[in-house]
Subunit: 216 residues, 2 copies
């Protein structure tokens, strides 16, 4: 890179985890700026200037500031096209995006930290109930994705063929979240198989929360 | 269109509303198949075959079945490129997608019907508390988007320039949802201005819930 690139990240954020995988797959090595979500760094005046949504991640590439992990990944794929993170054909791209959004829209935001805090603070939901809530939305989403993948006429080592796409970039961090709240994963053999493949890939391995410099 | 196209839709679903706007903007006239969400049509065996997620909308274009509204819209934009729903430059596309995902990931799914049902059935949340929940996530999201748009160096009649993009396609249905739960909108003058512009556009006007054949 001729110019500066910075990723605002937090080791445990699964949206930041997605961005880290994509950057690793593209061979890009941005500076990391650590935003500690449990210390409320995301609400600082400085970070609000970067992302008014006060969510992680955000990418600064030269003069462009981009928040929302999927907007970052589509931007990276358009700007640094190799290796591609989406198939070439429109139907394939739609299939990959459908899987990605089934996770990024319909699982992850419902289980986000700020939502869990609202459940605790406004509805006095217990820790056990919150964990059930997280498991419920993950299992519901995974059930649909497992069916989509198992029925597919495009079997492969990854969600779509034999190379990683946006779908895998969303799936692997969500599998990590599922393990944290002890979702029973044996019902999702295809997802487990893809996770095993992906975690053997250096780009995915290096993006895991536990190997980040800010992990504690 | 030489081939068959079908949209599975429900008049009040704001995700289906997005797909209807995009189809109208492209001048496409698919058959509509109505899935009544309050009668649980989305859980029928037939519809599960179309979309294992049991969510609306889904598009069948020739032999391709695509669920997830944003996957449908990106597919339409790639397959029927005029008029474009995303800017030509990568930074502009990232900005439009960031706004779209701020709505489609971080507002809409948290307020989705199935989540509201869970709050009622599992946490015994009252109707008033559920409305407060909906207002909270809408206002939080709109606050960030209003800041993003107001600070922008790309002012225009729409979210990004003077023609509709994916961002407006997500914004207008979310404004409709905001009105349904009586969010105080005066704090969002830019969003109100864009809404007024968009609703004067025939493609947006014809996609409104109240003018759909299944509206009741």
């Amino acid at each position: 890179m001729a110019h500066e690139m910075t990723l605002y990240t937090y080791f445990r954020s699964s949206a930041a985890w997605r961005a880290r995988i994509a950057l690793n797959l593209k061979g890009l090595k941005p500076d990391y700026c650590f935003i500690h979500l449990l210390k409320d760094d995301q609400h600082s005046a400085d970070y609000q200037h970067v992302n008014p949504q006060q969510l992680i991640p955000a990418l600064v590439d030269d003069k462009h500031i981009i928040a929302q992990s999927l907007a970052i990944i589509e931007y990276l794929d358009e700007t640094y096209p190799n290796p591609p993170l989406l198939p070439k054909d429109a139907a394939g791209r739609a299939r990959v995006r459908q899987i990605a959004y089934a996770i990024a829209c319909d699982i992850h935001p419902i289980n986000n930290l700020r939502v869990l805090h609202y459940l605790r603070d406004e509805f006095q939901v217990t820790d056990e109930q919150r964990t059930q809530w997280q498991r419920h939305w993950i299992a519901k989403g995974f059930d649909a994705i497992e069916k989509l993948l198992a029925q597919s006429d495009k079997p492969g080592r990854y969600c779509h063929g034999n190379t990683p796409t946006l779908a895998d970039i969303c799936l692997i961090p969500q599998m990590g979240n599922a393990r944290r709240v002890h979702v029973e994963l044996t019902a999702f053999p295809t997802l487990l198989r893809i996770e095993e493949t992906a975690l053997a890939h250096p780009a995915f391995a290096a993006a895991r929360p536990e190997v980040q410099p800010d992990a504690q």
